[in-house]
Symmetry: C2
Subunit: 362 residues, 2 copies
């Protein structure tokens, strides 16, 4: 049952060990549901090649019936399919580098994708284990992957609060778009915690622990925190970091590409927008760096609480250099900040300012 | 049972007919729960002085048992108290006037307040009436107030989608902070639709109609829409307006006051922040127009899904002129845009950029 790693030849590889790669943006925009081989890969160690029949997930901690679940056991539970965006907390980090240096891989806007994830609700697994489900509890996960020394060295670990664990849309997933998970996406089982940063959806799931505190693994306790803009690497103070869970309103231009030389006149612009669990109500496009705006057309994908929105529009661009910008609005009338500096933090997380692409029209 | 109008002498009155008034910001910040006589008043016509015993609310439309409810009937249902912010869609409109002209009263940051609202869940009223509750339905309200000709002339009317109507936190309220509603706040009964613009919480409630479309009253069909930034009064096109429901992330400085002359050194800054149904995770303060930031202290009010957050902090301000700014972050890692221009629209709604106060320190 081993599922071979099928890296798409066009993936942009930021690092091979561990493998961190994202798709070219035009490719990402080709399909509302991102194919597995085009979904960004974020890993913290070598990709574990697990045996889908032999692998077990331990469910333990504050449970009355500890479990050792096989893939077949999870498949035997009533399945649930959730259409959800998965994105890295560092998506669009590259845009922050122009402000001040940031740590971490320089993700463009491709560390994101949307898929139909199928699995068993985590709530059903917790119920089968007779888990306590009080408000102050957390559900901690570990993966079978061993992280690089710089990422804490131990097994990957993260946790979510009980309320998120009990949301029926949080699942123990065994399939992406109807296919078994690929090795790089967590075969045989991963968590999918919709709307939240990918770090809270561990891959190669090996333990699920109900406990009275967040995970003390490096990915929960020592990283993936939003630090204030006055902090630098040499003044890092974990107590001032806020755990990154839900991801903010964001949007990106997938075409034209940065630096593109295009034909002057009516220029087609395409991209995506996403807003945690809120619908996108409007997308604005500017051809002059945000001085004036026109509205893009949001494509209709039906209602998907955790999905993204594809949009397209046109700008009239005379010959010359132009800065194309996009900003989205969510159903609470919220829009994005204008400048990368507005959300800058030295770890480069939550980069969600207007996306800007400079082009030359001739 | 008539409840006399008790306007606080310090309210800032934007207009007397209809009455539109807001409290001074330091007063607003004195109490986490805004006293009735300090809550902003937004009205569209003369304040109806209704007889609390004789008044009836008709529940009609797609219902199997039309009702005519008295205040006593609503009080007889199992009560629910919801701690929720009420705010005008035009709160902070004044900040947009510096960009380009806007229509409407120049609200400062005081067209907002937070209270414990007590009433019966609207869902219970709908159930008692045997209402249809399908997804595509709307619940339309009218008030007993007759609007000014410029506001459509007819009775005030607005609607909410069925999903919002069935949220148990949406109530037919008869009390604010444990007191009967004051005349200016809707005596004897009003809707409270938490997290949404005040326009969706009609006062002096007189009809509740279950129907297959939004209300066609002026306040729903012809006003309270978010228009794009390229639209002007002479190009108004209702089809391009988006109905304003939920309100965005916002924050404001309540002290010091704009133009204040203060003592140089450590300066105390206070204010509020609010984020629809999300917790506020951090509030940043700047004494130099947003170049550098420090964090304010969020005060602990317990968990209130629809409440606001009071914060306080200090800035070190040398002698001279300074621009103090505040911006808040919500639990999805979302923050506010920097400039009033970033959300500008000619109706002046959803003014939610960083709040800026200029002071002189000596």
């Amino acid at each position: 049952m081993l599922n071979p790693f099928r890296k798409h030849p066009e993936l942009i590889v930021h690092g091979a060990h561990p493998l961190n790669a994202e798709p070219p943006l035009p490719k990402l925009r080709d399909n509302y549901l991102t194919p597995q081989d085009l979904l960004y890969v974020r890993s913290h160690g070598d990709l574990p090649e697990l045996d889908g029949e032999a692998h077990r997930v331990a469910v333990e901690g504050r449970v009355s019936r500890p479990l050792s679940l096989s893939l077949a056991d999870v498949r035997a539970l009533p399945p649930r399919t959730v259409r959800a965006v998965m994105q890295c907390a560092g998506n669009r980090r590259a845009d922050m580098r122009g402000v001040r240096p940031v740590k971490g891989d320089p993700w463009a806007a491709g560390a994101i994708g949307c898929a139909d994830w199928t699995g068993a609700p985590l709530a059903a697994v917790l119920e089968a284990a007779g888990a306590e489900t009080g408000d102050g509890l957390h559900v901690a996960f570990t993966g079978a992957d061993t992280c690089q020394p710089s990422d804490g060295g131990a097994h990957f670990g993260a946790s979510i609060p009980m309320a998120k664990a009990l949301d029926l849309d949080t699942i123990v997933a065994f399939a992406m778009n109807g296919e078994p998970l690929a090795v790089e996406h967590g075969f045989p089982l991963r968590i999918v915690a919709p709307g939240w940063a990918g770090v809270r959806s561990p891959k190669w799931l090996s333990t699920v622990t109900v406990q009275d505190r967040p995970s003390d693994a490096h990915q929960q306790a020592g990283d993936y925190k939003l630090f204030p803009p006055d902090m630098r690497p040499d003044t890092e103070d974990l107590s001032r970091g806020i755990t990154i869970d839900a991801m903010p309103l964001n949007s990106a231009i997938t075409e034209p590409a940065p630096g593109a030389e295009i034909k002057a006149g009516r220029v087609a612009v395409k991209g995506y927008a996403v807003a945690t669990d809120r619908p996108i109500i409007r997308v604005d496009l500017s051809g002059d760096g945000g001085r004036t705006w026109v509205q893009a057309t949001n494509e209709d994908h039906g209602d998907a609480r955790w999905g993204w929105t594809f949009w397209h529009g046109t700008l009239d661009l005379p010959p010359g250099e132009h800065e194309i910008c996009v900003r989205a609005w969510d159903a609470a009338g919220q829009t994005q900040p204008a400048l990368p500096d507005d959300t800058w933090n030295f770890k480069g997380y939550l980069s969600a300012a207007w996306h800007r692409v400079r082009v030359t029209a001739a």
